[in-house]
């Protein structure tokens, strides 16, 4: 018993000793690892060529096929933004340039619109763009310099042949058919919005539009977001459909909406499918935008150059033809 008693008394001491040893060892190992990593990190000189600041013009030229309320335009507003680039080593934030001028002419050189922005705001030329038309955008900078410019063409009209909805208790399915032009590779931006109706405290009715998450089970459809490996068929509220496998043919799509994603606090109204036929430049812009938007520029990131297409400067002006289909 004496021995046992001694043993039982000695055990905690031994454990404490082992714990201390283990903790000390872990600290030593940890410090060693930190030391190795720290010793292997150093500031280095990299010869980055000096960046000469340039005028930057960004914007959208979207031909709307049907009259749409402004509140339904969640993406691609017909706007322009003017700024000036700066080197990575500059510390200041970049401010928009608000006293430049934007000139838009058609393919024959006739003036369509001229716009001058207010303070800090985007430029909103009052132009009514048409599908399958050529436009030229020119900018004039505050100091009188000729700014970036570009000529581009809006894609052809989207020929939507049918649309319908089947509403279920947990899932609704929108069926949509349209014809794809055969003469070129087309890309379609697909978004889904829904009207929400709230009654305010004073009894007034407030209407709003918001994005809805959906799935499209088509091999050529992909979300702009980084895929989640655990949920490969994740929903999206915007994506791109390439016509690689149905070029020149009619396509019928099923857009699946999981209604259980939203709570029932607000009354929901009709759905609207936003279908934008994108020019090649617009597709390039969208790809490079999302690649860079979700890029943390960390050590293992693989950024690709941002897609610029204007002349005489930097920036991206792209064109599309939009159809907003009211699903009743």
């Amino acid at each position: 018993m004496k021995n046992l008693s001694q043993s039982s008394q000695a055990l905690p001491l031994s454990n404490t000793s082992n714990n201390s040893f283990a903790n000390l060892s872990l600290k030593v190992i940890g410090l060693g690892l930190i030391g190795i990593i720290a010793s292997c990190t150093q500031i280095i000189e990299i010869d980055i060529p000096a960046h000469e600041p340039q005028w930057v013009l960004n914007g959208f030229i979207i031909a709307d096929e049907n009259d749409v309320d402004e509140e339904k335009i969640i993406n691609f507003p017909n706007e322009f933004l003017v700024s000036r680039s700066q080197s990575i080593f500059e510390r200041n934030n970049i401010e928009p340039v608000d006293n430049a001028r934007i000139f838009i002419t058609d393919g024959n050189g006739n003036s369509i619109a001229t716009s001058q922005a207010g303070s800090q705001g985007p430029y909103r030329p009052l132009a009514n763009y048409q599908a399958n038309q050529t436009y030229r955008v020119r900018s004039e900078m505050p100091n009188g310099d000729e700014g970036p410019s570009i000529q581009l063409k809006t894609p052809k009209k989207i020929d939507v042949t049918s649309s319908s909805i089947r509403e279920g208790s947990r899932q609704s399915i929108i069926s949509l058919s349209f014809n794809d032009p055969a003469d070129e590779e087309n890309f379609y931006f697909i978004g889904l919005i829904q009207e929400y109706i709230d009654t305010l405290w004073n009894g007034d009715v407030f209407r709003d539009f918001g994005s809805v998450y959906f799935n499209i089970l088509h091999p050529d459809f992909s979300s702009y977001y980084e895929s989640d490996p655990f949920f490969p068929n994740e929903s999206t509220n915007k994506g791109v459909l390439s016509d690689r496998s149905f070029n020149g043919q009619s396509l019928s799509l099923e857009i699946r909406i999981d209604d259980s994603w939203w709570g029932g606090e607000r009354n929901r109204g009709d759905y609207y499918v936003v279908l934008v036929s994108m020019g090649k430049d617009m597709h390039q812009f969208m790809l490079s935008f999302y690649e860079n938007w979700y890029n943390d520029f960390g050590p293992f990131s693989e950024p690709s150059p941002f897609f610029f297409n204007v002349e005489n400067g930097l920036g991206t002006v792209v064109s599309g033809t939009r159809s907003i289909i009211h699903i009743k």
Partner: protein
């Protein structure tokens, strides 16, 4: 097939045959009876000669008369036999003992005489003397020291051969492709050097019998096992141990070889983890197993069974028990290859040899996470794999000393399962395959036939020419191509020659991987489809080779130009992708250009051996939708690549090895300027831009390693103590660069290096 052969044989300008005799047979190791590959067989005048094939077989047809035939092989005593009539013989060569200083040391086939170019046989004995990280010898790492072969990231075993990516290497282990050759994210290869008998690297001028990859063939053969005596060897290093055992099952008839390796860092750290976090176990290990059995049915038939398995495992386990609850969680990530083959050699006649093989290979990675308590049970499983079943037959017909014909066929069924996800929760099971239409099994078929001839046109000119024709099917999509191959040498004199080669290669498999060179287990192999066509490459090379008559010194230099078409590049840069939409997330139709100049000077035998290699290379890519359609440098475009390898046996019991490498820094992207952009939802946002793809370079890479081997021979046991120092002068080579902002707001770039100076010691014993 017979018609093809007949056509080949009749259209060639064969000389009128005088009466001839045929000497054929096998060449073996004298004591182990293991067959020797690449033994040079030639008559004294060097007018007639051949080389043993990959199963040790040779056949030499020569004019009737008395001939002294020499059998020479690097590291073995030369054997000379006299023949006056046709004979079938088994030649046994004795390995040179270091004590036998008086014995003539001769080489296998001299580089200047071979019609094959861009091919290097790896000397495994020399590989074991080269310094290695933690003393772990690696055959792929040794290949990185050769010209035309570049490594990826620091300490990675990934091979970039003449501008191609790691997916463009056909890596064969006993004739079976191995899809992922990396342990521990590429720090080690899966090939245990103790189990390897020979390794050959082909960078260009591919013979018609090879196909399916664009850039290289790495043909690795496992040891066969000693037919007469038991041998074993084992080693203990800082992170791993291994053992190899070989011997007869039935003496002179059946032998085996088994070799296994495992790391044990997880076992050593387990007590510390358990004490710091009671109930927890976590760790990482890798291991591999090589097994081979070969059986002789007689002089004309032999059967080989090969098996290989490797695995890398990360694991975490935690359990917390109280009187009222029992909660446990488990997670693991595992990946590995499994290959197997059955090969049957049969000698149809003294001139006609056939090898028939059934092959199997599988690469799989998977992850499992589970949590369990009394009232909750959750399991998530992820799995991805590629699995091939193959059948092939390779024939060799040695018509005469001027024509060595090879022909054959190969069929492979590829089964791809890019993703399988399963979630089990409580008693309910949800199968995401059925619910969400996750990718299930994708099947493709690949079939090829080939015929080639090693033709001695004259005493000066020798040509290897052939055709490789393949057909590929994926669902309703078929691809086929006829790939001409030709290489030849023209002897300038007894010691030097000029060489020329052309090869067209096609590849039906694509690897979707991160572009940063880290061999992640989640990299996915996917098939060519109707949307993603197979890749194609044309390579032309020209060179000059010189070797001394005893083949101790060799010098070769080559220039090459390779054009690649239909390359793909994963767009967003993540290796962890959604396999369902991979076809819309890759850029197709890419072009690649790789060209360069290589120099290799070697000393192949003696107390001091080694080589100097240098490569000047250019490697560019272009995709319509990448880098705005402009040509950009491939990430592993290295302008200069220099390597120096030297081993010296300065005493009977001591040898040293040292290496030094230098390479232009790899290409990378760095932030260059910022601008405002207009987001798709109409807001202005500041964005950082990198400029053109891969427009910056890491600082130049250079590193020196040294090692010392101390051999102690006591009775039957040969012991070796190895001390290695990796990165001996502590060069901090860039692993990655990141942007950082100092406290005063200044932007700076910092680099992180992976390995400082790393000493290690290991112990090896052999009996």
């Amino acid at each position: 097939m017979r018609q093809t052969l007949h056509l080949l044989l009749t259209i060639l300008p064969f000389l009128v045959q005088a009466q001839r005799i045929t000497i054929s047979g096998y060449v073996e190791h004298e004591s182990s009876r293991e067959r020797l590959v690449g033994v040079n067989v030639f008559d004294e005048s060097r007018t007639y000669g051949t080389v043993t094939n990959s199963f040790g077989f040779f056949s030499l047809s020569i004019p009737a008369g008395t001939h002294e035939i020499n059998f020479t092989y690097m590291g073995y005593v030369m054997e000379q036999r006299s023949f006056t009539e046709s004979a079938f013989v088994t030649i046994r060569l004795k390995e040179i003992d270091t004590d036998l200083e008086a014995v003539t040391v001769t080489s296998n086939v001299r580089i200047a005489e071979s019609s094959q170019m861009s091919t290097i046989d790896i000397n495994m004995k020399q590989v074991k003397k080269i310094p290695a990280i933690f003393g772990e010898v690696d055959v792929l790492r040794a290949m990185q020291y050769l010209p035309g072969v570049q490594s990826g990231s620091e300490a990675s075993v990934g091979l970039y051969v003449r501008g191609g990516g790691p997916d463009q290497n056909l890596i064969l282990l006993d004739g079976v492709p191995v899809y992922n050759v990396s342990h521990l994210f590429g720090f080690y290869s899966v090939f245990n050097a103790d189990a390897i008998k020979s390794a050959t690297l082909i960078k260009g001028g591919f013979p018609a019998r090879y196909g399916g990859r664009l850039s290289s063939v790495i043909d690795i053969t496992m040891k066969e096992g000693d037919m007469r005596e038991f041998h074993g060897e084992g080693s203990i290093g800082l992170i791993s141990s291994k053992f190899t055992l070989e011997g007869p099952i039935v003496k002179d008839q059946t032998s085996f070889m088994i070799s296994a390796r495992r790391t044990y860092i997880d076992i050593l750290l387990q007590p510390f983890i358990a004490l710091s976090e009671p109930g927890a176990r976590a760790g990482y290990y890798f291991g591999d197993l090589n097994l081979k059995v070969n059986h002789k049915f007689g002089e004309r038939d032999r059967l080989y069974l090969s098996f290989f398995n490797n695995v890398d495992v990360f694991y975490f386990r935690f359990r917390e028990q109280t009187p009222n609850s029992d909660f446990q969680t488990r997670a693991n990530l595992a990946w590995g290859n499994r290959t197997g083959s059955v090969r049957w050699n049969h000698l149809i006649s003294n001139k006609h040899f056939v090898n028939v093989a059934a092959t199997y290979t599988r690469y799989e990675w998977g992850s499992r996470v589970s949590e369990r308590s009394q009232d909750f049970d959750f399991t998530l499983r992820l799995r991805s794999n590629i699995e091939d079943y193959g059948l092939k037959a390779d024939f060799e017909y040695i018509h005469d000393s001027r024509n060595h014909v090879r022909y054959g066929a190969n069929y492979i069924r590829h089964n791809f399962r890019p993703s399988s996800i399963q979630i089990r929760e409580s008693d309910n099971e949800f199968d995401f395959d059925s619910l969400f239409n996750a990718t299930t099994l994708l099947i493709s078929d690949e079939f090829y036939v080939y015929a080639e001839n090693d033709w001695v046109v004259s005493s000066l000119l020798k040509v290897n020419y052939g055709l490789h024709y393949n057909i590929y099917r994926f669902e309703d999509t078929y691809y086929s191509s006829l790939q001409p191959r030709v290489s030849g040498r023209y002897l300038l004199n007894d010691q030097s020659s000029i060489k020329l080669s052309y090869a067209r290669m096609q590849q039906f498999l694509h690897l979707l991987s991160s572009n940063n060179g880290i061999g992640l287990p989640s990299d996915l192999w996917v098939p060519a489809t109707n949307v993603i066509p197979p890749m194609m490459a044309d390579q032309i090379a020209a060179g000059y080779a010189y070797s001394t008559l005893n083949a101790v010194y060799e010098f070769s230099t080559e220039v090459y130009y390779k054009k690649m078409n239909d390359l793909i590049e994963y767009r967003s840069g993540s290796a962890f992708i959604n396999p369902n939409d991979w076809q819309t997330r890759v850029e197709t139709g890419g072009e690649g250009w790789a060209y360069g100049w290589e120099i290799l000077a070697q000393k192949k035998s003696g107390r001091s051996t080694g080589w100097i290699g240098y490569t000047l290379s250019y490697n560019n890519r272009r995709f319509d939708n990448l880098n705005n359609g402009r040509v950009y440098p491939y990430r592993f475009d290295r302008r200069h690549d220099f390597s120096f390898v030297y081993t010296y046996e300065f005493a009977k019991d001591f040898d040293i090895g040292c290496t030094w490498v230098y390479g232009t820094g790899i290409a990378t992207n760095l932030p260059q300027f910022r601008s405002l952009i207009l987001t798709p939802w109409g807001q202005s946002s500041e964005m950082t831009h990198t400029g053109d793809l891969n427009s910056f370079r890491f600082p130049a890479y250079h590193r020196g390693d040294v090692s010392l081997n101390w051999h102690i021979n006591k009775k039957k046991f040969k012991q070796t103590w190895n001390v290695s120092i990796y990165n001996v002068y502590n060069r901090l080579n860039t692993f990655f660069i990141f942007e950082d902002r100092l406290f005063n707001g200044d932007v700076v770039f910092k680099q992180v290096a992976l390995f400082p100076v790393l000493p290690s010691v290991s112990y090896r014993v052999a009996f």
